[in-house]
């Protein structure tokens, strides 16, 4: 179970995996994610299901290496099995015929955008894509986006590909240029999603974002993923992860995302994957022995 059937580095520190998980592949919808645990001492963490192949029984994951868990995952090889993989979790995206939609991905955020864009397209919407990244070599999944959208704008921070600047600037130009926009979907770093919400708010453009708070179980049992939406507390893993951007308290989300930053950077420094056996390679089984410090 959970065998890595294929892996490739599609940008620096950014990987695309095909993982054998036929039950999840069969059931998943756009907008849903899985929770993984990569090795015995590892964390549970969420990744979006980018696509699935029900015949091959595989799901596609695209992730960026940011800390310990993602680094361990990136160190795995084809043929190895991911220790734990649960899903599909989260509410599927609400897909309707909105009209003309702009789908925006910043950095790895383009990965979660792909399945939603595909579903929007299948529902008869007209799509424009905006794909932003730091530099040309960090631009990912551009061909996939082009397949779905009738037009794709690319932008990079340094101008090495497409526009020089941020995705928000491209969107602002479109709005100012009087382009018809009925719906915006944006996934990426939280400041980017907040900026887009601010941009579309005055124009009353329906805007949806996919939030990425810290999660543990991913099934509603811990409350760690809580976010404030329209003044109410929601659990992103069961009420989301997608919400109306104009109602999200991004300030709080950003603070909560930083909750373990200091602790985690220490951990990443102290424990390199090379020194930590993968997948119970140490021979010891699941939680054994008595617990002390």
């Amino acid at each position: 179970m959970n065998e890595i059937r294929f892996r490739e580095e599609i940008a620096p520190q950014t990987w695309r995996y095909l993982v054998h998980a036929p039950e999840i592949a069969r059931r998943r919808h756009a907008g849903q994610f899985v929770v993984l645990r990569v090795y015995e001492k590892g964390e549970r963490f969420p990744l979006t299901i980018v696509d699935s192949d029900t015949e091959a029984g595989t799901i596609e994951l695209v992730f960026q290496v940011v800390g310990s868990s993602t680094r361990h995952l990136a160190a795995m090889q084809e043929g190895e099995e991911i220790l734990d993989l649960a899903g599909p979790l989260g509410r599927p995206t609400e897909i309707e015929q909105f009209g003309r939609c702009v789908v925006i991905g910043g950095g790895y955020g383009i990965a979660p955008v792909i399945p939603i864009a595909r579903a929007l397209k299948d529902a008869g919407n007209e799509l424009v894509g905006i794909n932003g990244a730091r530099t040309a070599e960090h631009v990912i999944l551009l061909d996939r986006l082009r397949e779905i959208c009738e037009r794709v704008e690319v932008c990079t921070d340094d101008g090495s590909l497409g526009h020089k600047g941020f995705v928000t600037e491209v969107l602002a130009e479109m709005i100012e240029g009087g382009e018809r926009i009925d719906y915006v979907l944006a996934v990426g770093p939280t400041p980017m999603m907040r900026a887009i919400a601010e941009l579309t708010r005055p124009h009353g453009i329906r805007t949806v974002v996919s939030l990425n708070p810290i999660m543990v179980d991913g099934t509603g049992m811990c409350g760690g993923c809580r976010v404030e939406v329209a003044g109410e507390t929601k659990f992103a893993c069961i009420d989301g992860p997608e919400f109306n951007a104009h109602e999200v308290d991004f300030e709080m989300l950003m603070k909560r995302q930083r909750m373990y930053r200091d602790m985690e950077s220490d951990a990443t420094r102290m424990y390199k994957p090379q020194s930590t056996p993968l997948n119970g390679g140490c021979g010891c089984h699941r939680e054994g022995g008595q617990d002390g410090h």
Partner: protein, 473 residues
């Protein structure tokens, strides 16, 4: 070595508080064989034992205690296992003072027989002496049953069904089985090796486990019914409740579920060796006064918090936690602030919680539960400094299964509705444990699991369960 006081009853040896707050090892050390025999000899061997009536699964208490008094410990363990598949666990976590020991006749004048401690002793003895007998695999019935959730309710149901020859698969959303026994109850009350051994027994009698399987998501109940002849839902009441007051989403404010799961399941006590962190500052407030609150408070002490204060809106007399847990918490330096109810958490500019503003309460008239209900003292509030808050005010039913099973009738409070046999409104689907009753106890969930197992057996075969000892209330 510190010991409990007690007239008559053999005291339970315990590790001293100063030592045990340094680690997550178990607090009570267990009886020696001599102590167990001496305690067993106190039992009057009543002809009509009242103790049995207090046990939700009707453990054959005088019978097993007689075997203990004769030094036949492993036989005693097997006697218990006729009705209770997890004695090493129940001996540790059952609230005996409100169950079997409450009704023991000796309790009328002095102290009741220490039934729980004896239960724990014989189960530990059997395991430590490698005398656990795995019964012969029974003739297969050809029926297959899905059990959803691997908490005590699911485990008890699975054990019985497997013993009667059914093919049983437990589906569990977490990566490790046990339910609250795994992620809720800390290892200093229930060591993981004890839990693992009990789970191992289940696997040895042929119960299969599908971990990382989220019923309602990975497959629905209807889909499980395509592969199985019956389903038992034991998904627990795992959803945390919050106070719904300002500042509750500040950094450092946890649900007890998250705080305990990070430590118990994910091993945040051993961060950074384990990847999952937990934030536990020096001034911790725990809101609530049940077992969960005591577990969170004692865990916080073990994570190094100097000041841990339990904030409760009633008084000591109304605390729902077990007496033993309250006593242990206090020995370990946990403070109690009664008649106080947080109305707001105040944070700093980075969003971290810095204090709790509490409303002073007083006790008013008794409410429908018979407890005197707390009422605010108008205008009297005070502030407690804190850097971590753990909210332990109860839980709700898990909605994933109900939401994805349209023809499952629910009770008013969002729990699954069942009849006396444990059957739900849906053909072939049974339910029990916290998902039916709301938060209760381990042994009540097990009792419900066993009752459902009997009903499932009848439903599948049309016959009474073989040699089944009925676990009716």
């Amino acid at each position: 070595m510190a010991t409990n006081r007690g007239d008559g009853r053999q005291p339970m040896p315990e590790r001293p508080a100063e030592e045990r707050v340094q680690d997550f090892y178990e607090v009570p050390l267990g009886y020696t064989p001599e102590q167990a025999i001496a305690e067993a000899k106190r039992c009057l061997q009543c002809k009509r034992p009242l103790c049995v009536g207090g046990c939700p699964v009707k453990v054959q208490i005088p019978e097993f205690i007689k075997l203990v008094s004769e030094g036949r410990f492993s036989e005693a363990a097997r006697k218990i296992k006729e009705t209770n598949a997890l004695p090493a666990i129940c001996g540790r976590v059952c609230p005996q003072e409100t169950q079997c020991e409450q009704t023991c006749v000796l309790g009328k004048r002095g102290e009741p027989v220490a039934i729980g401690r004896l239960e724990r002793f014989v189960a530990d003895w059997e395991r430590e002496h490698d005398e656990v007998e795995v019964p012969e695999p029974p003739q297969s019935t050809g029926y297959s049953v899905a059990v959803v959730g691997s908490g005590p309710g699911g485990l008890a149901c699975a054990a019985d069904l497997a013993m009667w020859g059914h093919d049983v698969t437990i589906y569990e959303l977490f990566h490790a089985p046990g339910g609250v026994l795994r992620y809720g109850i800390p290892s200093f009350r229930l060591p993981r090796e004890v839990l693992d051994a009990e789970l191992n027994y289940l696997e040895r009698i042929g119960v299969k486990m599908r971990l990382n399987f989220v019923v309602g998501r990975t497959a629905t109940i209807d889909e499980l019914l395509e592969e199985h002849d019956a389903v038992f839902i034991a998904t627990g009441a795992g959803l945390p409740r919050f106070l719904e007051i300002p500042g509750e989403n500040l950094l450092g404010v946890y649900s007890a579920n998250e705080f305990l799961t990070r430590v118990n399941l994910m091993r945040a006590d051993r961060f950074p060796e384990y990847d999952t962190p937990v934030h536990c500052g020096n001034n911790v407030i725990v809101v609530g006064a049940g077992n969960v609150a005591m577990d969170a408070a004692r865990t916080a002490r073990r994570l190094g918090a100097e000041n841990v204060t339990v904030v409760y809106r009633r008084t000591r007399a109304e605390m729902p936690a077990r007496a033993e847990e309250i006593e242990h918490a206090e020995q370990e330096g946990v403070q109690m602030r009664f008649l106080a109810s947080p109305i707001e958490f105040v944070g700093d500019e980075d969003g971290w919680v810095r204090s709790a503003i509490c409303q002073q309460m007083e006790l008013g008239e008794p409410d429908e539960s018979g407890r005197r209900s707390p009422v605010p003292v108008e205008g009297e509030t005070f502030e407690i400094e804190c850097d971590t808050v753990v909210v332990a005010i109860g839980s709700r039913a898990h909605p994933l299964v109900p939401e994805t099973t349209p023809d499952l009738d629910m009770s008013r409070r969002g729990y699954v509705a069942i009849d006396e046999s444990g059957a739900t409104s849906k053909e072939g689907v049974f339910a029990g444990g916290d998902i039916v009753t709301g938060s209760a106890t381990v042994i009540q969930a097990m009792g419900a699991g066993r009752r459902a197992a009997e009903s499932i057996h009848r439903y599948l075969t049309g016959e009474e369960p073989p040699g089944g000892i009925t676990a009716e209330e």
